[in-house]
Amino acid sequence: MTNTKKQVVLAAHFPGVNNTTVWSDPAAGSQIAFDSFRRFAQSAERGKFDFFFLAEGLRLREQRGRIHDLDVVGRPDALTVLAGLAAVTTHLGLTGTVNATFNEPYELARKLASLDHLSGGRAGWNVVTSSDAFTGENFRRGGYLDRADRYTRAAEVLHTARELWDTWPAGEVVADREAGVFTRTGDPGHFVHSGQHVDIRGHFTVPRSPQGRPLIIQAGDSDPGREFAARDADAIFSRHGTLEAGKAFYADVKGRMARHGRRPEELKILPASTFVLGDTAEEAAEKAHHIRRQQVSPQTAILLLEQLWNKDLSDHDPDGPLPAFDPVVDDDSIIKGRARLFDDPLATARQWRAIAEEKGLGIRDLIIEVTGRQTFIGTPASVAATIDEFVQSGAADGFILVPHLVPGGLDEFVDTVVPLLQERGVFRAEYTTGTLRGHLGLRHE
């Protein structure tokens, strides 16, 4: 029988530098030793995942004017680690975030094309932009972009990279010893790009890579971000983890693609998701609560509350009531080095007060209640069924799973949920291609 069910895409996100990554657990290993990356990636490959993903941040977060010390901190350069992982994996896609504001397109395109060669066609790039002067203090560019210019810069850097990747036609390298012809032309790789953000010319140094172009991932959620994804991305990290919100987002983004001459299946929509598994629903719920308490220590509860209140609340009792006063609404954020989390702080504070009163919660319990609840909590069978339902009903093409532990956080999912997805006929039992684009059913550019 022909399998007509839509196939699930699965990606493994190496746990990041925020409070959802639990470091206090005895099973929590190093965040920086290469062995942690190796084990995590090999686990994903054992589970036949489509790709590994590594995020990036270019300045350490600060809160109350000091370096944030409660969460996991410290990470490697993404593309360098991915090149290392290419040596210890054979099929897994290798993707990472690289900032389009604080990198120049020539160098970026060169590194990504090199990674594609060194991994045999498994490279992918999550294109992000920053607009903050805070991060700019670490770079030549200094300063920052107007928010409005973020996507025009990202799009132009990406388009420039594509132009560079296309400069060497397939077959440019002849390497004919007898004839003495190494390349078809004397100086291959010629390009000229003259635009608003990028004005460069010369010759690219990397022959056309196995995928032609590495996979392009995009993570923004705003209207320009969605438009950028619909036009330029091969995959999108979405934040819409519920069925209804997922369907609305999916329909919106895929609906934009025809205008850019693209078919809906050319863009994979992948909500970032967390999971907790148990032998019974009750056990999973208990584990989920335990993990939430690990993620939200008393000190972290106060810090997360400060992100909404935008004020130093270090004199507040984590088990006591919310502040009596309203959040400070101010352009100058108490937290630096990450995106603003709340669009309307006053409205959110009113909601939180109502929940705290209704359930009789102190600050820490409230924070546990209102922030970062896991996406999938249940038995392997129920989680597999939910994932399948999301994909078959048009709420997602798959998921980017973010475990809460390094390096073993993916193992349980690989051992228990993946086989059930395979039984359902919605996930590969073996890799059938060698490249990342191949895994996703996308053509090589």
Binding site: I67, V73, D77, A83, A87, R140, T300
Partner: protein
């Protein structure tokens, strides 16, 4: 007893001869594949060499300084050297990995974290060949500034001198920032203290607050201090401005033992810990003649070129060692052929002379080179009561 010498090999495409790729022993259609580089690096490791360098540039290869040469009969195209090093790091165990990274157009912040990451991937075997670029064509790849069309082979004019001084001043700033960022986390900054909820002791993280002409960098690094503390910084230098850069190893280009002694004295006086001589090696004289013929020109180089057998090369290296050179970076004329002879013949001859290690005695590049543990410039020293 003979003094021990250090041995490194410089990997570049199919070898340093422009026609090397046409030799029957070469692998010209594998130059962009990971397997090619892994084979070369493993070969060097089998010979217990200190390290390999990997050549790179932010522009297409050219026989001319001031532009491209239009030649289709030379190797064109490269992969990023640092990523090649990263790709081989987890599947090698001892040999040092020293990619070339240009300082002129790159971000010191990225270069610092990339090299620190390579040091993690290799558990302490990372180094850096810092390279200055004055080529106008490379500057145009970044679009940030325009470099003058100077003939840098004629360096006498004041304009050329001022331009060079500017490039080397930027290089010095770049190396300074990279080094400060490596130290911006103290080794014991990560504390995982459950009682206070703190993952790090933030008093052990440091802003570097560097302000310079071309960039200012606040810090701290996003990457914790790498295993070696300070990965090994190296540079190729032909004159004083290059010797002055804050490197641990400088590659110099003497033409004989006498000039080697003079250069070593100058570089040491400027604070360089290790002075290596670059030597291009053709360990099969017939092959070099054949390639010269194929390429249509006699091979020319900035470095001394040795053509002969391994015994003659061993003799040359030992005599330069006696003149004060700490080690050698051999540039194989043809890869992997000349590297195979280095490992199979040269290394045993040097061992027989008591001048080269039988086996690795350390696991880090600093260890191979006998460099001391790198102190952290930001760590507070405890004052004795």
């Amino acid at each position: 007893m003979t003094e021990q010498l250090h041995l490194a090999v410089a990997l570049d495409g199919a070898g340093w001869h422009p026609a090397a790729w046409r030799d029957p022993s070469a692998f010209p259609d594998e130059l962009f594949s990971p397997g090619y580089w892994l084979r070369l690096v493993r070969l060097a490791e089998r010979g217990k060499l200190d390290f390999v360098t990997i050549e790179d540039s932010l522009g297409l290869q050219s026989g001319r300084y001031d532009g491209l040469d239009g030649r289709a009969d030379h190797v064109k195209g490269r992969l990023d050297a640092l990523l090649i090093a990263a790709r081989v790091a987890p599947v090698t165990t001892h040999v040092g990995l020293v990619p070339t990274v240009t300082v002129t157009h790159t971000e010191p912040f990225h270069v610092s974290t990339q090299l620190a990451t390579l040091d993690y991937l290799s558990t302490g075997r990372a180094g850096w060949r810092a390279q200055v670029s004055g080529r106008p064509g490379e500057a145009a790849h970044f679009g940030r500034r325009t470099f003058p069309d100077l003939d840098l082979t004629r360096l006498q004019g004041p304009a050329a001198q001022a331009f060079l001084a500017e490039l080397f001043a930027e290089a010095a700033d770049h190396i300074e920032v990279v080094r400060r960022l490596w130290d911006s986390w103290e080794d014991d900054a990560e504390i995982r203290d459950v009682a206070t909820g703190r993952f790090i002791d933030r008093d052990k993280l440091h802003y570097i607050d560097f302000t310079g002409t071309h960039f200012s960098v606040k810090g701290p690094s996003i990457t914790p201090r790498p295993p070696q503390g300070q990965p090994v910084v190296t540079a190729l230098a032909h004159s004083r401005p290059g010797y002055e850069l804050d490197t641990d190893v400088v590659y110099v280009t003497p033409s004989d033992a006498v000039s080697a002694a003079a250069i070593v004295a100058e570089a040491r006086a400027l604070g360089r810990a290790k002075v290596f001589a670059d030597v291009v090696v053709f360990l099969d004289p017939d092959r070099k003649a054949r390639l010269d013929e194929l390429g249509g020109a006699a091979f020319a180089s900035d470095a001394h070129t040795y053509t002969g057998d391994a015994a003659g090369l061993a003799e040359l290296l030992l005599s330069w060692r006696a003149a004060g050179v700490d080690g050698f970076r051999l540039r194989p004329g043809v890869l992997p052929a000349d590297l195979e002879v280095i490992v199979a013949d040269l290394v045993p001859l040097l061992r027989a002379a008591g001048a080269f290690r039988e086996d690795y005695t350390a696991t880090t590049l600093r260890g191979h080179l006998g460099l001391p543990a790198a102190p952290n410039r930001y760590a507070r020293t405890e004052v004795a009561a």
